[in-house]
Symmetry: C2
Subunit: 405 residues, 2 copies
């Protein structure tokens, strides 16, 4: 019998309880021992809940109980969650979390703490919800030098972009609908500005490099400003627009960035629609592989937390391999990254655009014209493109988009 | 230092040596110890090869050497490979293999033998080459009740079908080209008749159920008889034709089958083209997830073998969890499985077809007509469909295809 505690009885926390209850036979078999939820920490009471009598309000009770070997941290945030996690690990209790903010902010410290105390800090649920991606990176692709990780890592923005693509709808309308349906928060900034994807790619890039990729240093651009008209051009080009989070080894440096991209029809990420997410991984031996599934949601995320609990239960007193050092990864500036760009100009700016880009632009026109053109540059560095593009001044229409080949 | 032996210096075996050499720093770091290839078993000599002096011809040398803790079995077949694997495991040496025939034929026995001798029998490379799928099933989806596994598991047939789809080419021509390019064997039976996919789905279904799914009892149909014209209909329907291998829990029984299927455009397996393979998994908590990558090839397959070697190196003397009992899984007959079917009739058979299927057929016509029609049935059991279809006699055109929704 292994006794566990759940911190935070919200969406994911109650999902953890549900998964352990509903799949008890499977979970116990895979754990090699019976799991029992002994405490649920929450500020609230839950009268009438079948787990009512497990609810405690004081983390001290859990910390002091030697029977508790594994803790699920499903509170979120970097305040109390950080404090509780540190205390738990120092007491030799393993912690399994869905808290991407905390993992991105303090991953190496918490991993080191776990190691010192012969327990584990696992975070499969922190990236990609129901997509097993942390464990494949840590345990499956072990013979690989991972060269790049490219992900659609945020369900809300992917839902919005898919809706815009299939319904020709405007960003503001789709966002409003997503908020009404509960797919987007009332304050959608963390999702639509790319901050959520930024933390997730910080975690994945750190695991890729084995060093710490500081999420605060990742170039991050959100999906605001993407217009229905951009999707019309994308369609003409046989492309889609996705918010991509990229981590890539470039010599001895690491490129990490989040931005909306045009991606071509043949790319496996092209078909990742709605609330689904996916992570595309390039290794030096196995080439391309991809991991696809639900990026969020109560039960998928909870299932990932419970898979970590099972891993902890099977490794009580042993440290599970994870390479993520505190040493900072050298991030490269995006200025020198080369790619093609798409942008739009008003008809009267076409000649200026041609001149600025030395007559090397590919033109895309929509059926209705709409007084503007779409243009695709040859491969240019970010800095080179930006310098030329800026000079277009008022002739610009809409926002420019990067193209991921 | 962990010393290993490689059995068979062919494509995969030499790939294993290459991966361990090229990614030595990564492989040693992840193993926690340095790996050294001490022996390579092959009947041939390899004069001039950098590993020439490691080559031995007698398995007894490897078996008798107590320094050898891990063996890579990349010989294939169920003769010598079976004998050597048993002897190695009985001597407490872990075995990592890419040999799907042996795993499908003797998996539970070899796993039990490994357990008895405190070592491991790992086979990540036996299914899906470079796609991590065995380890995700065994270690990641542990909190799930897996309900279904649907895979495109054979690179040769997927290459042939993709070529037919994109080039409108005939089966015989594409097969010939694939043979010339080395993508298909001179005797292509194992691939095109579905025998290879059958062994792979036997392995995946066994891991899904935890019991033994006997590959000899799996309903298996290959891609011969699929015609260029079938792809014309598929295109009209917005569908693709793929050789699917399916394992599915149906009450207390398991459905396992291999067959070409029409699959709709929105299905994630729809975009899996060429030599790529993918496995689609449905769990009761996380819903759908998919694992995509190169299904075969020297380095992807070798990378999977080496990931197993690393796992063994980290677990010397310990047994890694794998639930695959010798107890036979109860397989259901496909007769009662219900789905829609597509078939073609000559124009003169249309009225008979309508009558046989109670006027419930959906009609699909090609631009050139070609003296035939495509017809789609409502949802029917296999037995019900077959009974009616058989009565069409000479009015049938081409072969019928199942539809996977």
């Amino acid at each position: 019998m292994v006794k566990i505690a759940v911190l935070g009885y919200g969406t994911v926390g109650s999902g953890v309880v549900e998964v352990i209850e509903k799949n008890a036979d499977m979970v116990n078999k895979k754990s090699g021992e019976e799991l029992e939820i002994k405490y649920i920490l929450d500020l609230r009471d839950f009268p009438g809940d079948p787990y009512e009598d497990k609810v405690v309000h004081d983390f001290g009770v859990i910390l002091a109980d030697d029977e508790i070997r594994i803790i699920c941290e499903t509170m979120g945030g970097v305040g109390a969650a950080y404090e509780f996690t540190k205390k738990a690990l120092m007491a030799g209790k393993s912690v399994c979390t869905s808290n991407k903010e905390l993992v991105a902010a303090h991953g190496p410290e918490l991993l080191a703490l776990a190691k010192q105390n012969c327990c584990n800090y696992l975070f499969e649920a922190s990236v990609g919800g129901g997509i097993p991606i942390i464990r494949p990176l840590n345990y499956s692709l072990t013979a690989e030098r991972i060269e790049a990780v490219t992900g659609i890592l945020n369900g809300t923005t992917n839902y919005i972009l898919s809706k815009m693509e299939y319904e020709g709808a405007d960003y503001a309308d789709v966002l409003k609908e997503a908020q009404e349906k509960g797919y987007a928060e009332r304050n959608p900034e963390a999702d639509v500005e790319g901050y959520d994807a930024c933390r997730k790619i910080a975690i994945l890039s750190s695991l890729m490099t084995g060093k710490n990729v500081d999420y605060r240093k990742i170039y991050t651009e959100g999906i605001t400003g993407v217009e229905a008209r951009d999707f019309e051009y994308a369609k003409r080009l046989g492309m889609s627009i996705k918010l991509l989070a990229i981590g890539r080894e470039e010599g001895d440096k690491t490129l990490a960035m989040v931005s909306p991209f045009l991606i071509p029809g043949g790319h496996p990420l092209h078909m990742v629609n709605g609330v689904f997410n996916a992570v595309f991984v390039r290794g030096n031996m196995l080439g391309d592989s991809m991991y696809y599934g639900r990026g969020a949601g109560k039960l998928p995320t909870a299932s990932a937390v419970v898979s970590d609990v099972i891993d902890c239960a099977r490794h009580l007193g042993k440290v599970i391999m994870c390479f993520w050092d505190a040493e900072e990864a050298k991030l490269m500036s995006i200025d020198q990254v080369k790619r093609r760009f798409f942008f739009r100009v008003k008809d009267q700016g076409l000649d200026l655009a041609k001149e600025l880009f030395s007559n090397q632009l590919e033109e895309v026109t929509l059926a209705d014209g709409a007084g503007e053109r779409g243009l695709i540059t040859p491969v240019l560095s970010e800095a080179d493109f930006a310098g030329r593009y800026e000079k277009l001044g008022d002739a610009k229409a809409g926002r420019r988009l990067r193209i991921e080949e």
